[in-house]
C-alpha cells in the first residue's frame, strides 16, 4: 500500500534495473570449502568430508550441501560489482534485512565444479508494515556449471526499511 501523499520509494532508475543481468561471477566448489561449509552447519554425513564415502554414494566428489553454491573467486584488486538491489530509493532507508532464501537444485554440484552466476532483480515492491516503510527486492541468481548446465536457481528477498 503506497501512501498517495508521498511519492514512490522506487525511482525510475530502480524500475529500469529490473531484469537487467549482472556481470557473471565465478565461484569455485572445492573439497576444502565443502568440508568447511558442512562442518559449520553441523553435518555428520561422511559424504561431505570423505571422498571415498561420497563416491561410494554415487557422487563424482564431495557434494555441495544444500545452501552451498560455491565460493566467489576473490581478487583484492577487483572491486566486486555493486549489487543492483542497492540502488538508492527516493527517500533514504537505513536498515537492511535478509527476508528469505529459496534455492532450486537442478542437478548435483560437487567439489571440482566451477560455477558461473548471473543475477537480476526480479521485482521491487514497497509496503507499509510493522517496520514502517519497507522496500522489498527479490533477486534471482542463476548458477551454471563448467558444462553450461543450470545447476541451481536462487531467489533472495532483501528488505530495506
Amino acid at each position: 500500500m503506497s501512501d498517495e501523499t508521498q511519492e514512490s520509494l522506487i525511482t525510475d532508475e530502480m524500475r529500469a534495473s529490473i531484469g537487467r543481468e549482472s556481470e557473471p561471477t565465478t565461484l569455485e566448489v572445492d573439497k576444502t570449502s565443502v568440508r568447511m561449509f558442512a562442518r559449520s552447519v553441523g553435518y555428520t554425513d561422511p559424504v561431505y568430508y570423505d571422498e571415498a564415502a561420497a563416491q561410494a554414494a554415487g557422487y563424482r566428489s564431495l557434494p555441495a550441501p544444500p545452501g552451498y553454491l560455491g565460493t566467489p573467486v576473490f581478487n583484492p584488486n577487483k572491486r566486486s560489482a555493486r549489487p543492483q538491489g542497492v540502488l538508492e530509493p527516493s527517500r533514504p532507508l537505513k536498515r537492511v534485512l535478509n527476508g528469505g532464501t529459496d534455492i532450486e537444485y537442478l542437478t548435483d554440484i560437487c567439489a571440482g565444479d566451477i560455477l558461473t552466476s548471473i543475477s537480476a532483480v526480479a521485482s521491487i515492491e514497497e509496503r507499509k508494515g510493522r517496520l514502517g516503510e519497507m522496500l522489498i527486492t527479490t533477486t534471482k541468481t542463476t548458477y551454471r556449471n563448467q558444462d553450461g548446465e543450470v545447476v541451481a536457481i536462487m531467489t533472495g528477498t532483501g528488505i530495506r526499511y
Binding site: M36, V41, G42, V47, G58, P65, P66, Y68, N98, G100
Partner: protein, 138 residues
C-alpha cells in the same frame, strides 16, 4: 539409509533436527558462507544497530533446514528445493528446532517427489523461518 517414497504419507512429520548455535558456530558459519556481517559475531556492533544481542544468520537457518531434509532423504534421495522466509530472530545458545511435515506426495517426470512445509522454531514455539521444500525419494 534415508526415507523411502512408498513409506511416506501426507501429513506425516519428519524427524526433528535440533540445533543450538554457540557463538563459535556463528563464526565458523561466517567463514564457511563468506557472510562476515558483524551483527552475527560482534556484540557491540549488534547493539549499536539496535539489536538486543548478536543474531543467528538467516542463511544458516536456511542451511539447517537443508540439513533437516538431507538427513531425512539420505544420499539416494535429493533435496530439490528449499525456501524459507526469515520472520524472527534467533540468538546464540538458544534451541532452534528444525521441523517438517509432508504436504504432498506425487510423481512427476518419472521422479518420486514429496513437498513439505518446513520451519525453524524458537524456544517459545514461534516459527522464525517458515518455508517449503521439495525432495526426491527412492
Amino acid at each position: 539409509m534415508g526415507a523411502s517414497w512408498d513409506e511416506v504419507q501426507e501429513g506425516m512429520e519428519i524427524p526433528t533436527l535440533e540445533k543450538n548455535c554457540s557463538t563459535q558456530q556463528l563464526v565458523h558459519w561466517a567463514a564457511g558462507s563468506g557472510d562476515f556481517y558483524q551483527i552475527h559475531y560482534d556484540h557491540n556492533f549488534a547493539e549499536a544497530t539496535g539489536l538486543p544481542n548478536i543474531i543467528v544468520h538467516g542463511a544458516l537457518k536456511h542451511a539447517f533446514l537443508g540439513q533437516l531434509l538431507h538427513d531425512w532423504v539420505g544420499n539416494e534421495g535429493r533435496v530439490k528445493r528449499v525456501g524459507c522466509s526469515y520472520r524472527g530472530m534467533d540468538f546464540p545458545d538458544e534451541d532452534i528446532h528444525c521441523k517438517g511435515v509432508v504436504t504432498r506426495k506425487y510423481e512427476e517426470n518419472g521422479e518420486k517427489l514429496v513437498d513439505l512445509e518446513i520451519w525453524t522454531e524458537n524456544p517459545d514455539g514461534q516459527r522464525t523461518s517458515p518455508g517449503s521444500a521439495t525432495v526426491r525419494l527412492p
